[in-house]
Symmetry: C2
């Protein structure tokens, strides 16, 4: 039996879930793993507020450094979030020789290299399963289960809020703003939803996954990011007519000349498993050169699902606490990942133009696309009209994004409005 | 850098995949994990046959004990299969202090407790990711990622051959025998397919998953097993009409009075992810009390996918080779799992009767079901007739299987033929 002393910094939703999990399953975990999780201190700026779990008052402090500087504590769990104090807490914990568990994707996406370098220098591991996909074991799978593989492709639905909104728009035919407002009311979207709906949160998670897959530093700013706010019920309907579903995907795709990294609404063929991930659920699809395609699915957020990952990390670190380290205990970030600029990405595209309904318009659009080396795979021009304009939907063959951008600039000058989910 | 010396026993399909993987990705693995996989010996009864990978002759031997008794070898990989010599190889390897990797589900299902007990006594770990779901990281997920959870429910598509046959029957409307013959021709089914199609292979995998989920010994003989050979295209059509798909599931379900363990064709609601797993793919769905529902998907068999799991296990054992052990390194098998006999299982049922088309038959059937406390949820009596008889399909509400068995015995005496996939 190995007792491990844990300090928690950040007693919010996930922190509460972690405490509940330990209180509820401590004996079971001890029996199964031989590790006794002893939560000795909880720090939060607000220790008065009622939580879903009742803890003894002498466990609580408002001073995180009562944990970080306590020599008896083995593992620090950082669930504060954000990239300022959380960063300092983690750095100081590592410096003090404490293994760290965090769910902080923004911090790892922005400052991962610095933190991982320090972790390696000090020989102190940091675990972060909860940073991507809630309770889905994607981080461990990538670090350990797929360790024999080169991973060449990742496509993830990693933001539950966006997936919930898109699923609801599809099922109820409502428009984006209306569903977002409902989601905010139901607690599926934040009061300030921009990090979710603009794709920033998905980009953070993609940066972490790409770092693990390719073993290189990922410059977050080089990830192309497009959110879901421009998707209309009409796009969803056209996608459905063409046997696609629209999902916000975080995509990494290795090419000979580098890696495409992008977050955007994508047309997913309806027979693909990713098309079938509904509501707040997450799924990460990937392809390894040995294992082939794999997909991992589960709740991507939420108090308990995320806590499951946090506690698994604690158990993992606890068992290794006195072990000699090997390379695999640390995250590799050697050199910069060669991220291909968006202009050079290659994929099929979905284009919707709202055009004036008069002869010759379609020929003009097709002509401009052709001039830019973009060929049309299929097209819908539905009967119904909206005022005096009609929508035209075009799916292209694989095209270079830079060409598409130029073509659309020209088409836009024809007084045509576009909407652009892509696959 | 940590070099680990590996001996492989069994140079068949998976063994070949493992060797290919190490040859192909050894540098990459070394760079990523800090572990250098040095394959020093391969034993097989046939060392003359051409394989997909070329190995130096002095690596080969026909004597497994050249590996088992070689003091320089750290890890023995057993890929012989079967429950006779393979068992002895594993036992002798553990006795000689060598960590073991195996893909042998039949052996672990039948003699797991004995092997795991020895492993614990000797402090020598055994890894078996490849025994269930090929390259899908389900074993590691259950042992480590879901370590904070009580797992209360598992439903897995864990036999690619059966799933391929059912998918093909569905897509092409062909009958079981015809599709099986094709599958044998294509290499998707063995010459003797009984272990797959009768559900025995799925039962082996279920036994392993249940052992991990509940930490108890599982008596393989107590698992209810029913294969797919009685499924007809008509069943598949009726299922589809009712918005279900028929899948061979391996199910574990915890109840207050014990655990239901069963393998049988099941009606899966078409919106459930398991309904969408096609062809030779596998998926394991599970529910934890903390993590909620998770699903892991990938190729459940095949040379390279399975090799991915074998090599991941080798890396895992290699990194831990000199570490002090903790409880989690071993598999718990304390006491017998309380497996509920099939008569007491509770679920909805699908029943198809072929009845003589005359008045009063349906009333008789409904009457007998009612007498046995089985209520009807929905019913189809299609127009089309086969000769002089017509099919009737009934979906019941949740019913006790023992009652159903008795009811069907009585109905059978009415000169009625049944076919019985169930959910």
């Amino acid at each position: 039996m190995k007792e491990v002393k844990i300090g928690l910094i950040g007693f919010g939703t996930i922190g509460t879930g972690m405490v509940k999990t330990i209180f509820q399953n401590r004996e079971w975990i001890k029996n199964r793993t031989g590790i006794d999780l002893n939560l000795v201190k909880i720090a939060d700026i607000d220790i008065k507020r009622e939580r879903e779990v009742k803890v003894s008052e002498d466990l609580l402090t408002t001073d995180a450094y009562e944990i970080i500087n306590d020599p008896s504590i083995d593992i620090v769990v950082e669930l504060v979030g954000g990239t300022t104090v959380a960063k300092q807490f983690i750095i100081d914990s590592i410096r003090n020789g404490k293994a760290v568990v965090t769910a902080n994707k923004a911090l790892l996406a922005e400052h991962g290299e610095e933190i991982f370098r320090l972790s390696r220098e000090k020989g102190i591991p940091i675990a972060f399963e909860a940073s991507v996909g809630g309770g889905i074991p994607i981080i461990k799978a990538m670090r350990e289960s797929y360790a024999a593989n080169h991973i060449s492709r990742i496509a993830g639905i990693v933001n539950g809020t966006c997936n919930y909104i898109l699923t609801t728009m599809e099922k109820e035919g409502k428009d984006f703003r209306e569903v977002l407002a409902e989601a905010q009311k139901n607690g599926y979207a934040e009061a300030d939803p921009s990090l979710d709906i603009d794709g920033g949160d998905s980009a953070h998670k993609l940066a972490i996954l790409a770092m693990l897959a390719f073993g290189k530093r990922v410059n977050l700013k080089e990830i192309y990011v497009e959110g879901i706010s421009r998707i209309t019920p009409l796009d969803i309907k056209f996608a459905s007519d063409l046997h696609y579903r629209i999902k916000l995907l975080a995509i990494a795709r290795e090419r000979e000349d580098g890696v495409e990294l992008r977050v955007h609404p994508a047309m997913v063929p309806e027979e693909h498993l990713l098309a079938k991930i509904d509501g707040v659920y997450n799924a990460i699809y990937l392809e390894g050169d040995i294992v082939g395609p794999n997909l991992l699915y589960g709740q991507g957020a939420g108090m308990m699902a995320t806590a499951s990952a946090v506690v698994a990390d604690i158990i993992d670190l606890a068992r290794k606490i006195d072990y000699p380290r090997v390379e695999e205990d640390f995250v590799k970030c050697d050199g910069d990942l060669n991220i291909i600029p968006i202009e050079k990405h290659v994929s099929p595209f979905y284009l919707r133009f709202q055009v004036v309904d008069k002869p010759g318009v379609l020929a003009k659009i097709a002509g401009i696309l052709g001039d830019h080396d973009i060929s049309i795979a299929s097209m819908i021009q539905p009967e119904r009209r909206e005022g005096e304009s009609v929508p035209i939907v075009i799916i292209t063959h694989e095209s270079v994004e830079g060409n598409l951008i130029k073509a659309i600039e020209k088409i836009d000058k024809l007084d045509i409005i576009r909407a652009k989910p892509r696959s």
